[in-house]
């Protein structure tokens, strides 16, 4: 009986893979520019919080979250840590030394962008289902270690990820809609600098 978990392990690992179209996209696209619109329903707020902006996803380097509304704010997640740039251009860097947890999350994010789901293995179980026309849904259910912080994560898309819904531990919901996909437009020098966390 005690060998059962060991036997199940390969089966679980096989399931921990991304939907085929998404995996293919991640493999083939090195840089993706896109826009997003985010709606957050937070119990403590009297109104839902809406924000919008653009995203740069660089497969081998990291992610740039450039919010335009309600306030210009740029957050960069790369292997070395997290960089925050406010509207005045002031930079705040959190590397592995300053904030190991944030740096680890950034590392997990960047490896996810490369299709590497190993870091999420102990934290979530994946379940993906496909629909006609190359569309898919991916549901992540938290393991006990992640459960207090995240209740569920679901993604939906076709060639690209089009929608993400996250319910956090407190029950607050985040809905993000992605659009305006511009694959393989090159990174401009400013973006390169940001991804180097400078």
């Amino acid at each position: 009986m005690k060998h059962l978990p060991a036997l199940l392990l390969p089966a679980v690992l096989a399931a921990q893979s991304l939907p085929a179209p998404l995996a293919a996209h991640l493999k083939s696209t090195a840089v993706l520019h896109l826009d997003f619109v985010q709606t957050r329903h937070i119990a403590a707020l009297s109104r839902p919080l809406r924000s919008s902006g653009s995203l740069v996803v660089a497969r081998d380097r990291g992610l740039i979250w450039r919010m335009a509304k309600p306030l210009p704010l740029t957050i960069v997640a790369a292997k070395g840590g997290v960089l925050e740039v406010d509207r005045e251009g002031r930079r705040k860097l959190q590397s592995a030394k300053d904030n190991p947890m944030a740096a680890q999350m950034a590392r997990i994010l960047t490896s996810l962008l490369q299709g590497d789901t190993r870091a999420l293995e102990g934290l979530f179980t994946f379940r993906s289902s496909s629909a006609p026309g190359g569309r898919w849904t991916l549901d992540l259910t938290p393991q006990p270690a992640a459960a207090p912080f995240v209740k569920s994560v679901s993604l939906r898309g076709g060639r690209f990820v089009e929608q993400v819904r996250v319910v956090d531990g407190a029950g607050d919901t985040t809905d993000i809609l992605f659009s305006g996909f511009r694959p393989d437009a090159a990174l401009d020098p400013a973006e390169v600098r940001l991804l180097d966390l400078q």
Partner: protein, 757 residues
Amino acid sequence: MRFRATLWGILLAALAVFALLRLASGPALETDLLAMLPRSARNPMADRAVAALTHTVQDRVVLLVRGQDAETGAAAARDLAQELQRSGAFRSVQCDLPPVDTAEPVRFYTPCRTRLAPPDLPPGITGRDLGPLVQARLASPGMGALPPAQDPFGALNAFLGRLPLQSAGVELRDGLLCVPSPEGLHILVSAEPQGSPFDPAVQDRVLRAVESAERAAAAKGPLEVLRTGSVFYAADARRSMERDVNLISALSVVAIFGLTFLLFRSPRHLLLGLASAASGLVVGTAVCLALFGRLHLLTLVCGTTVLGVSVDYSFLYFAHHLDAGPAWDPLADLRRILPALVLALATTLLGYAALLAAPFPGLRQIAVFSMTGLGGAFGTVVCLVPLGLRRPATARPAMLARLDRVLAIARSMATPRTLVAALLAAVALLGGALALARTDDDVHGLIQASASLRRDETRIQGLLKIASGGAFILVEGSGEAQVLQREEALMDRLPVGRLETAMALSSFVPSPARQEANLAANRRLAPLLLQGLTGAGFRPESARRALGDLNAPPLTLDAFLGTTFAIPCRALRLAPTASIVLPLGGADAEDLHRACAGLPGVTVVDKAGEVSEMLARYRRLATIALVAATLLVGLLLSTRHGLAWGFRLLVPPLTGMAAGLFLTSALGFPVTLFTLLALILALGFGVDYAIFIREGGRRPRADLLGVCLASYATLVSFGLLALSTTPALRSFGLVLATAVLVSAFLSILALPTRETP
């Protein structure tokens, strides 16, 4: 004579009985090499800290298991852990961790977050501008444990993010602690042995358990297991010391007494020689057990070398026996050589007396063992051996004729020219030695672990990213508050050099002063923050909640240490007045010293470094002792033989010492305290031969034979030390063997010339 013999016999018997009883009554052998070293009497709290860390960290057995892939590795690690648990050799075995409550730190710190950090605001911001800023934060992706809604100013997330909750390089996967590496995934299994790592029974049980568990796990597939833990080092050290004792003593006995038998052709001399050596060992063992309680294994290793010296006295006596032929009178001939024996004993004891002054318990024990052992051998030669050698020796004309020829050659070489040549050689060798010599007082030269153990340790340290050397920081103060404050003063300075982070209690519980300052800041900014929150869209009730408890009770160290996630930190708290700060990463002692410079109550504890420093200090003192001993011996000889002869008798040992020092330096061994001690002993032994020859007078042939035999025995026993696994002892043996060889050869200079009576 008879009376003296009986008295001595009774004394020996009594000591033998005492020694046997003591050995039978319980563990009498000490195998912990570090017990040889002095305690740091400087700071008892530092010793407590070292003991606490040693127990929690170093005594544990740590195994890193790597299989062909993650699954087989995990299965193998679990099998291994089960086997270890089943063996009964361990008090506890950890492989699968109990499920970790990841939300515990959040639950623990949220009620008192107003005391943990001030809100993180851009300077000079107004309430009106704060609203959109909070909104932006609320909308941005959260990279912390708490969603932005629960920690709108990010202070608690920043605090939690900084906590050193997980060692660098170690990940938790599927309940197992793993270390990823380019070669594959290593899985951590740790276990606490049942008993002290220096107990031979515990060592055997642990080694057997680990080996059989590894074999069982490896039967299922290829496996790599790296191991570390003080048990392995202790077992290693004990095995090599035991091998040394067995090998060296066995070879010594065979070489020395083999020659005795071959030369004297009668079992009588062999038995008497054995008796004097054995009585030396009995006296040495008994006195040490009486004075010290336990005998260190290292004393036995060095003590077996005393065998070679203790037979010197009996050899001189036997040489005279052989030489005297029919004119042998046991007592008269004893009286004739007695001055030589006494002077030789005195000079050797003078050499060992230098060891007595060392603050090392181990060296003092070696000195006591050797001195009493030699005294015992001397006593037996003087009181008992004559009784066994009453009849004259069988005539050996051929051998005596050969000796005469050797004596003639020796006499022809004992010219002033040889003396000058020896002096020049001594100066040249000394010069060469000083040019080639380098000092290295690192205490790790005393401990030579096996290559595989050292390889494993280096790899494990690289994978777990723990600092080697074992140095850490001790923070002391008048009470908990001051200790935490002093820790903060240190932590605020980091990074310094290669010391980037450290694990300190103050990272988890800010000092009361800092808590008050944070609370005051939160209170002062409360109206501003409230404005920002309501501007961002917070409901009034939620906004007040988001501010945190402005009357939060103080966070205490006791409350923190009572949580589950604080368990790894419990060892850091030594006492209400002292705590340990553990450096993480690859910092060395120098970086630690720089970080702690000028901070009151903050000191670096570096046991290995301290001992190395002490070894260096005593090396310098030993150099002075060597010079002093040389002068004393010279003085002793001059009072007996006059200044000219006194000097002449010193030339053989001094040349021998120079030769020994030169050879060991030329071969690359560093000059350590042990080299100096070897030189001091070389003085004591080397001068013996010159004394034997000088004091002989009427029987120069016998003295020459005695010197040859004695130097051969000493050469063999110290030369055999060169087979020891400890580099310090190898160098020790080499210096002494070379010095003895050269001194023995040059002792011909002590031959009385035709003019002197």
